[in-house]
């Protein structure tokens, strides 16, 4: 499995007919040729932005507006209202990892790698940078991660300046990798294409002195730009 699997989509067939090209069969007039070039340039991006999707797990497919993670987008997982964001962030990362893409985790030294593996993330293809280094280095390190992997989970330890956040988002957009910000304490004030807020979560299976933590039911609110402009609320069960 290769690390990058760009989805190529042919241009819609119906739009390639044009008057200039309707010359006698086998002959193209000079005018027709220029028209062809103009049209060719117009349809050159042969894949739609919407087709640049990283796969997600079936549980999330119904919840995310695009049914996947848009390449180049920034996803913020917000858990200021309720706990459970880390598992949700792992779930977001699990889809691409299962699909054979490389993922990375930056600045999250407390990450429970075992929990990540249980969510389906392939640890052999998960690059971990527990500490991002000094304040003058971490941006460069994250930017390098965008160059090399397809999805980066970033857990800011301190407030991220808005200008830095914008640069990061722009870099991920430029490289076509997904930035997932795990925001425990409201450190991320930058832009987000998609915002998954855990509005409530409830564990089941454990009671006073017996049982075990078994599964958790989430209340999610997904909002963002474009197709996600209208907030959607959805339940989620993890582990299913």
């Amino acid at each position: 499995m290769t690390a990058t699997a760009p989805v190529e989509v042919a241009a819609p067939a119906g739009r390639t007919t044009l008057a200039g090209a309707a010359a006698p069969a086998g002959r193209v007039t000079p005018a027709g040729r220029t028209e062809l070039h103009r049209l060719g340039a117009k349809v050159r991006p042969t894949s739609f932005a919407g087709e640049h999707l990283l796969p997600v797990t079936p549980a999330l497919q119904a919840i995310l507006p695009a049914g996947g993670l848009q390449r180049g987008s920034t996803v913020v997982v917000d858990s200021r209202q309720s706990s459970g964001a880390t598992t949700l962030a792992f779930e977001l990362l699990a889809g691409p990892s299962v699909g054979g893409y490389w993922c990375a985790v930056g600045g999250f030294s407390e990450m429970g790698a075992l929990a990540a593996a249980e969510r389906g993330i392939d640890l052999a293809r998960l690059v971990i940078v527990p500490f991002l280094g000094s304040p003058d280095r971490w941006l460069q390190v994250l930017a390098t991660l965008f160059d090399s992997v397809d999805a980066v989970l970033f857990a800011p330890r301190a407030a991220v300046r808005q200008s830095d956040a914008r640069r990061l988002a722009a870099r991920s957009r430029d490289r076509g990798s997904v930035l997932i910000v795990l925001d425990h304490q409201g450190h991320w004030s930058g832009p987000s294409d998609l915002r998954c807020t855990v509005t409530g979560s409830q564990w089941s299976g454990l009671s006073r002195g017996h049982g075990l933590l078994a599964s958790r039911r989430y209340e999610l609110e997904v909002s963002g730009r474009g197709a996600a402009a209208r907030p959607r609320r959805a339940p989620l069960q993890l582990p299913a």
């Binding site: 706990s83 880390t86 490389w102 640890l123 280094g133 090399s148 454990l206 009671s207 006073r208 933590l213």
Partner: protein, 525 residues
């Protein structure tokens, strides 16, 4: 086989540059080597540090460092290798060579020993070391003893005539065989000289002392203890270049490094070797130095070497704290680990090797910025607690999942695993409804139902979600899971109990009790 042994006395001190002052090498608080000046003051081998310092207050002590000794001994080995390429280094300070060929060429064993002593003493004298001793005998073992006896006698060489080795050995005490237990036993049996031991019947020695006794018996009779492991001296695997004028552009240095890397590859390839560990060293005009080891899964190509140089220098020059203050004047590449070059197999249709190339380049770049151990992957290792079950492996180190990961590990807290694991447990107090602290009994039961958890450390909780407020009510709990680990090992012994805890705010945590103190070890976030 007739063998010549070159022995440089007190080599570890010569290597440390301390041979001409009272000094000693310590290992496990005991003196293992001491200089002649220190011996004169009363320092002896196997003395404790305190005794040695009492005997000689101005004694300079250094720790044992085999690497340092071996590196500096290379100079002696290359001096010896100019006589014959077949040199075996036994340990730093001692090397041996078969004497047959060279002695014929240099006109006999006496002249060979004299010439060799001259060449080696030239190297040693530059480090203010005592002159070397040379011994020649029919077996390597006897030659080593001969070299040592040359030291005692104060001559530069002792040559045991061919065929006389057994006779020469016969007069030495059995302790010279170098097997302390055996010598002790032989002494008590009344056998005090090597000759008396050699006179015993071989079959009887084998029956009484086993294979170790047989080996010692061979040595005592002046036979070969082992065949010398001979090979060509390894090629010089260091290439360096001094720059005429200091350079402060990374690109320029990288351009120069291209030539160095190519030269290193050219030295490796005739031997069929490839390099998997590379030492990149750079020095500036102001004598600042930066060296770093680089390791790779696959052997380095010369381009990969240049990349490492570039990244290392970029990292160095852009660092805020210790950026170099002058231009680069020296670049040196050393192949640290070499493996037989089996070529590179690229998978059909690209394959995983090709796919991860982009990843590998990015990671190597980050290693240049943050260091080798700052980036890597996780490996599941097996264990009971969430901390032990995962091991972080720096990128480039072999990533192997140990077999223990599949063991059952009774006492492990069942899945799901906590998503946040704290390096140090967050200290808390677990209280029952009555306000009593909750403990775990010897039978693995909670002493009371937990009702409240209170964080002990002031300030804000660590990143993640240990209970935000200082006091929280427990609404659910399970456990405890007692774990008594490594009870056979006094240092590794740990006795712990773990508890799953659900708090009123909906957060769930894994608590651990050790030595009577509760702590939040992980959070099910």
């Amino acid at each position: 086989m007739r063998t010549l042994v070159v022995w440089c006395p007190d080599w570890p001190l010569v290597a440390a540059g301390l041979a001409d002052v009272p000094s000693a090498v310590l290992r496990a608080n005991r003196v293992t080597v001491c200089s002649a000046a220190a011996r004169g003051e009363g320092v002896a081998l196997r003395q404790r540090r305190r005794e040695a310092e009492a005997a000689c207050p101005q004694l300079v002590l250094v720790a044992e460092d085999m690497g340092r000794d071996m590196r500096s001994f290379e100079a002696v080995v290359s001096a010896v290798a100019s006589f014959t390429p077949r040199v075996e280094v036994s340990r730093p300070g001692v090397c041996s060579l078969p004497v047959k060929g060279p002695s014929r060429y240099f006109g006999g064993e006496g002249p060979l020993a004299a010439r060799l002593a001259g060449a080696v003493n030239g190297v040693v004298a530059a480090r203010h070391g005592p002159p070397c001793r040379i011994g020649i005998a029919d077996s390597p073992f006897a030659a080593r003893l001969a070299a040592q006896s040359a030291g005692v006698a104060g001559t530069s060489a002792v040559i045991v005539a061919p065929g006389e080795t057994a006779t020469w050995l016969a007069g030495l005490p059995v302790a010279a065989l170098g097997r302390r237990d055996l010598a002790d036993l032989l002494n008590r049996l009344g056998i005090r000289r090597i000759g008396e031991f050699a006179a015993l019947d071989e079959a009887l020695v084998g029956g009484r002392f086993g294979s170790e006794g047989l080996e010692a018996h061979r040595l005592a009779r002046g036979l070969d203890d082992h065949v010398l492991a001979l090979c060509d001296p390894p090629p010089d695997l260091t290439v360096e270049r001094e720059l005429e004028s200091p350079v402060d552009q990374v690109d320029t240095v990288a351009f120069i490094a291209t030539g160095i890397a190519d030269e290193l590859m050219e030295r490796l390839s005739p031997h069929g070797l490839a390099c998997t560990r590379l030492l990149v060293e750079a020095a500036t005009e102001h004598a600042e130095e930066l060296s770093r080891w680089w390791r790779a899964d696959r052997p380095f190509t010369s381009r990969a070497m240049v990349d490492r140089v570039r990244w290392q220098l970029e990292g160095w020059m852009s660092s805020a704290a210790d950026a170099p203050s002058a231009g680069i004047t020296l670049v040196r590449l050393t192949a640290g680990e070499v493996v037989p070059d089996s070529g590179r197999q690229v998978g059909l249709f690209g394959g995983p090797a090709e796919a991860s190339q982009r990843v590998e380049r990015g990671i190597a770049r980050i290693q240049g910025l943050l260091g080798h151990t700052a980036i890597g992957t996780a490996v599941l290792t097996g264990g009971r607690g969430p901390v032990e079950q995962v091991c972080f492996v720096p990128w480039g180190d072999p990533r192997e999942e140990p077999e223990e990961a599949r063991y059952p590990w009774p006492g492990r807290v069942p899945s799901p695993a906590p998503a946040i694991v704290y390096g140090d447990p967050v200290a808390v107090e677990l209280l029952a409804a009555t306000g009593e602290p909750v403990g775990v009994t010897g039978r693995g039961q909670c002493s009371a139902a937990p009702a409240q958890v209170r964080r002990l450390s002031p300030g804000s909780p660590p990143a993640g979600c240990s209970p935000a407020s200082r006091v929280a009510t427990v609404v659910g709990w399970a456990g405890p899971w007692p774990a008594e680990e490594r009870w056979w090992d006094a240092n590794g012994y740990r006795r712990r109990a773990r508890l799953q805890l659900l708090l009123e705010d909906g957060s769930a945590h894994l608590l651990v009790l050790e030595r009577g103190c509760w702590g939040i070890e992980a959070t099910y976030d």
